[in-house]
C-alpha cells in the first residue's frame, strides 16, 4: 500500500528493489501477422520503464497484453507471485491511462475519478475523500463537477491519470498519453508525470514512439523493433553504448561507420586507428557531438580527418554540419553555432567514442 508520505522511501527502493512484473517469452500473432516474438522483460518496483518503438513495433500490443485487453499467443506474465495473464482485466492490480484518455462522457470529472472505487463498492464518504485527494494531486479540483467534453486535452489527461491512480495500482500503464498534446504542454507534462511517479512510487510502464520523451522520463528504456527487443538499458547507457545500429540511429543522431579490423588496427576508408576490437568487419557508431574541430596543437590519441562542408543545419545552440571527405566518407558533426563555417575543415575524434554496434539489418 502506498501512502502520500512515501516518496523518498519509494525512490530509494527503486535502486535495489525486486521485480514487480515478469514478462516471460510473450508472443502474439494476429492470424499470420506476428506482432511480438517472445518478449522477456522485467519491471522493477517503483521503476519508470519506457517501451519505445516505431508504430507497428508491437509496443501497444505488449501494453494491452499486460492490461489484459489482448491475450498472448504464448508466454506468461507474473506479478507478485501470481500468474497475471490468466486474470481478466478487472481483476488485475494494473491500471491504464489510455492514449485518448477514454473518460466516460456521461460522468463528471469527479464521477470519472471515483468510478473505480464505486464499482469496488467503497463507501460514499471514503470515495469522496479519495477523489478529492486525487483531484488535488493533479490540480483539477476546480473542475470536479465538469463533464469531460467541457475541459481541454491536457486537463482530460490529468483526470485520466487521477482516475487510474486513485485505484492505487501496483503498476500503471500509459499508452502514449502525451501524444495528443501540443509541444509545450507535452514537455511540461513529461516533467509533471515523472515527478508524480517519484511521489507515488508506483511502477510506470510508459509506451511512446518519441525517443526524446523516453530519454527525459525513463529509468530504463526497452527499445522494441518489429516485435523484438533491440536493447533494454538506462537512457545514458542506450545513448552512449547502443547495442545495435538501429538503437544508435533511433535514439539520437549518429554516424554509422563500416570498418575492418586487421591486426589490431581499425580501417575505415582512409582513416585508421589501433583498437582491441575483434578481427574482421565491424560497424561503429560515432555521435556527431563526439567529433570536434581539430585543435591546432594536435592532441595525441585522436583520429583526424579533413573534409569539405556540404551542408549545415542551424539548431539554435548548436549546428549540424555535413562533411564529405576525399575518400567519400560522410560525417555529421555537431559544433557550436557559427555563421562562418565553410570550405575545407579539419576534425578529430577520440576512437573510444566510436562504439561497435550489431548490424540490425542482418538481425
Amino acid at each position: 500500500m502506498l501512502t502520500r508520505e512515501q516518496p523518498v522511501a519509494a525512490l530509494e527502493a527503486s535502486a535495489t528493489s525486486s521485480t514487480l512484473l515478469d514478462i516471460h517469452k510473450i508472443a502474439k500473432s494476429f492470424g499470420k501477422n506476428v506482432v511480438l516474438r517472445g518478449i522477456s522483460l522485467q519491471v522493477a518496483e517503483g521503476e519508470f520503464l519506457t517501451i519505445l518503438g516505431e508504430s507497428g513495433s508491437g509496443k501497444t500490443t505488449l501494453l494491452r497484453i499486460i492490461a489484459g485487453f489482448e491475450s498472448a499467443t504464448s508466454g506468461e506474465l507474473w506479478m507478485g507471485g501470481e500468474r497475471l495473464d490468466r486474470l481478466p482485466p478487472y481483476k488485475r492490480r494494473v491500471n491504464t491511462v489510455f492514449q485518448h484518455y477514454a473518460l466516460f462522457p456521461h460522468l463528471t470529472v469527479e464521477q470519472n475519478v471515483g468510478y473505480g472505487l464505486r464499482v469496488a463498492k467503497h463507501s460514499a464518504s471514503e470515495i469522496d475523500v479519495q477523489v478529492e485527494q486525487a483531484l488535488a494531486r493533479v490540480k483539477m479540483t476546480a473542475y470536479a463537477k465538469s463533464k469531460p467534453s467541457k475541459i481541454s486535452g491536457g486537463q482530460q489527461q490529468r483526470v485520466a491519470l487521477a482516475r487510474a491512480l486513485v485505484k492505487r495500482p501496483q503498476l500503471l500503464l500509459l499508452d502514449e498519453p502525451l501524444s495528443a498534446l501540443d509541444a509545450n504542454l507535452r514537455r511540461q507534462m513529461q516533467l509533471e508525470l515523472k515527478s508524480l511517479q517519484r511521489e507515488v512510487g508506483i511502477s510506470f510502464v510508459f509506451v511512446t514512439h518519441d525517443q526524446e520523451e523516453a530519454m527525459v522520463m525513463s529509468d530504463r528504456i526497452a527499445l522494441l523493433r518489429a516485435g523484438e527487443l533491440e536493447q533494454v538499458a538506462t537512457p545514458r547507457e542506450i545513448y552512449s553504448r547502443p547495442a545495435t545500429s538501429y538503437a544508435a540511429q533511433f535514439i539520437g543522431h549518429t554516424n554509422l561507420l563500416r570498418a575492418d579490423v586487421r591486426d589490431g588496427v581499425v580501417h575505415c576508408g582512409s582513416l585508421f586507428w589501433t583498437s582491441k576490437l575483434p578481427e574482421g568487419s565491424a560497424l561503429l557508431s560515432l555521435r556527431p557531438e563526439n567529433i570536434e574541430v581539430a585543435a591546432p596543437s594536435g592532441a595525441s590519441g585522436k583520429v583526424r580527418f579533413r573534409g569539405k562542408l556540404r551542408h549545415k543545419a542551424f539548431h539554435g545552440a548548436s549546428e549540424l554540419l555535413q562533411i564529405e571527405c576525399a575518400d567519400g566518407l560522410l560525417f555529421s558533426v555537431r559544433t557550436e553555432a557559427r555563421s562562418d563555417w565553410q570550405g575545407e575543415l579539419e576534425f578529430e575524434f577520440d576512437p573510444t567514442d566510436a562504439v561497435p554496434v550489431r548490424n540490425s539489418e542482418a538481425a
Binding site: 482485466p89 491504464t96 485518448h100 464499482v119
Partner: protein, 282 residues
C-alpha cells in the same frame, strides 16, 4: 456560398410538398373537428366542441384510445426486450459476422406488411400451424381461441413488424460507443455486468428512446393488424377513425379523434427528443 436560385430550387419543392400534403390537410382536419353532423346526415358548419366532449364521455371512444395506448406500450416493451439484446449482441460480440447478421435483421423490412400479417393469421388461426401442432403433440385437445382475433395477436404481429425499427437506433447508438470506454471500465475493476449497466447502457439511452418512440408511435396509429388479427376485442382507435370516416359518415368526430392522436404523438416526439438530448454526449 450558394446562389439564391440554387437555394430556392433546393428548399422550395420540399416546403411546398409539406405544405400541400401535410399542413393544409391537418388544418382542414382541425377545422372539421369543430363541425357537427345533422340528423339528415349532412355536415353542418359550426364551431362546436361537441366532438371532443363525445370522445371523452362516450365509453367506446376513450376506452379504445386507452386500449390502443396499452397495446402500443406492450409492443414497445416487447420490441425493446427483443431489439436491445439483439443489437447488443451484434454490436459487441458478432465480430466478423456483424454485417451479415445486420442484413438478416433488415431483410424482413423488404417483405410487405400484409404478407407478414397474413403469415401470422396462418400460424395463429384455429386450424393454423400452431394449433395443429399443439393438438398433434396432444398438448391441447381443442384449438386455443385466444391466439387469433385478440389483443395478443395484435401485440405479437406489431412486435414482429416494428422490432427492426427499435433495433436500428439502438444498434446505431451502441456502435457509437468508443470501445476504449469499455476497456477503461474493465481496467478500473468493473465486472462485465457493471460495465454494461454503468457505461454501455447509459450511453445507449438515446437509441433506446428513439427505438421506443418508433415502436409506440407506429403501433398506436396502426389499423391493419387489429383489422386482420384483432377481432372485436383487439380493435384499436385507428379502426374507429376509419369507420367514422367511412360507413358511419361522421367526419367531424373522426377528425376530432385524429387530432387528439396527433397531439399525443407530437407530445411524445417532443418529450423523447428532449430526453434524448439530455442523454447524448459528444
Amino acid at each position: 456560398m450558394f446562389s439564391r436560385a440554387y437555394r430556392a430550387v433546393v428548399t422550395v419543392p420540399p416546403l411546398l410538398w409539406v405544405t400541400v400534403f401535410l399542413l393544409i390537410p391537418y388544418a382542414l382536419m382541425f377545422r372539421y373537428s369543430f363541425r357537427t353532423v345533422s340528423a339528415s346526415q349532412t355536415i353542418v358548419h359550426s364551431w362546436s366542441l361537441a366532438n371532443y366532449r363525445q370522445l371523452f364521455t362516450v365509453d367506446v371512444y376513450w376506452q379504445t384510445l386507452l386500449r390502443s395506448m396499452w397495446i402500443a406500450a406492450r409492443v414497445m416493451l416487447c420490441s425493446l426486450l427483443l431489439g436491445y439484446p439483439l443489437a447488443y449482441f451484434l454490436s459487441f460480440y458478432a465480430g466478423a459476422k456483424k454485417d451479415l447478421l445486420y442484413q438478416f435483421v433488415i431483410i424482413p423490412l423488404w417483405v410487405s406488411y400484409l404478407v407478414r400479417a397474413y403469415a401470422w393469421m396462418t400460424i395463429l388461426g384455429s386450424v393454423g400451424v400452431l394449433n395443429t401442432l399443439l393438438q398433434y403433440v396432444h398438448l391441447t385437445r381443442h384449438p386455443l381461441e385466444f391466439l387469433l382475433y385478440s389483443p395478443f395477436a395484435v401485440v405479437l404481429t406489431l412486435t414482429h413488424i416494428y422490432t427492426p425499427f427499435t433495433f436500428l437506433p439502438i444498434y446505431a447508438s451502441l456502435e457509437h460507443i468508443p470501445r476504449n470506454l469499455v476497456e477503461a471500465s474493465s481496467d478500473l475493476g468493473a465486472s462485465p455486468a457493471q460495465t454494461f449497466w454503468r457505461v454501455i447502457f447509459p450511453l445507449s439511452i438515446p437509441g433506446v428512446l428513439a427505438g421506443a418512440t418508433f415502436a409506440f408511435v407506429l403501433s398506436l396509429g396502426d389499423f391493419l393488424a387489429p383489422l386482420l388479427l384483432g377481432g372485436p376485442s383487439g380493435i384499436m382507435i385507428s379502426n374507429i377513425v376509419v369507420s367514422l370516416f367511412g360507413a358511419a359518415y361522421n367526419w367531424p368526430l373522426g377528425a376530432a379523434i385524429s387530432f387528439c392522436m396527433l397531439l399525443i404523438v407530437v407530445g411524445l416526439l417532443f418529450f423523447s427528443e428532449r430526453l434524448e438530448k439530455k442523454w447524448s454526449f459528444s
